[in-house]
């Protein structure tokens, strides 16, 4: 699997170098189903290409985040999760009992976003929000 040309060209346009490490990291982020952690990205890259260091993963994520190419979500388990921005947004219902994560279409929070903007002049960044609680099973 190759990384998307879009992200790659965006990087090189802005003068960033296209190193093999970056390409591999990009592939993994885009290839997975989202919600991937730095450690998982590292493990997947290292499996095929052992010449990577986890600090390179963190530095790459930092860069991609800054350029708005990936979004970062805290699902409450002590490590941050990443998702390619171009794949669209959704939210997460996280069960604090069993840990299941249910995806929630972004439209559900659209009204909230409106209210916050008009009533509080606050432009909420509801890209990949996590809402904690209990899923159907765990509430009996």
């Amino acid at each position: 699997m190759k990384p998307s040309g879009k992200i790659v060209s965006r990087l090189s346009e802005q003068g960033y170098r296209l190193t093999p490490q970056r390409m591999m990291i990009l592939s993994v982020i885009e290839g997975g189903g989202g919600h991937i952690s730095a450690e998982e990205i590292y493990a997947q890259v290292a499996a095929k290409y052992p010449y990577v260091n986890i600090s390179t993963v963190y530095r790459t994520l930092e860069l991609l985040k800054r350029l708005g190419l990936v979004t970062e979500t805290d699902l409450g388990d002590g490590r941050l999760r990443y998702h390619p921005a171009e794949k669209g947004h959704h939210h997460h219902l996280v069960c604090t009992e069993c840990g299941v994560v249910i995806n929630l279409d972004e439209s559900v929070l659209a009204r909230l976003e409106d209210v916050l903007l008009h009533r509080y002049n606050f432009s909420a960044d509801l890209k990949h929000m996590a809402i904690f609680g209990r899923c159907a099973n765990c509430s009996e």
Copy 2:
């Protein structure tokens, strides 16, 4: 300042010991304006009563959380914040630019809570949620 009789009696009813450390920690949590971190609680307690250790603060917070006497909120700055449950709930609009935290009445999210419950069978725990974005000033 003394801790509220309500929390104290709740603790002793359930067989927990009322140590001076716990009393001081309770006072600080109740005395402050909310959004206080473990480190801040520790600093305030230690100022008057040097015989405290930060691990006692963490253990006490853990206990109070488990008993539902304080709520825990992640305002995104790398440390968790605490608020006495009896003082009522509210949410937080956190500006990722300037760091300002705007309190949001819990009623604003009441409809969302309903939708999640009825459409997804998910009982969201919206006690002290943090929503990130840009405040009026920082969006120009």
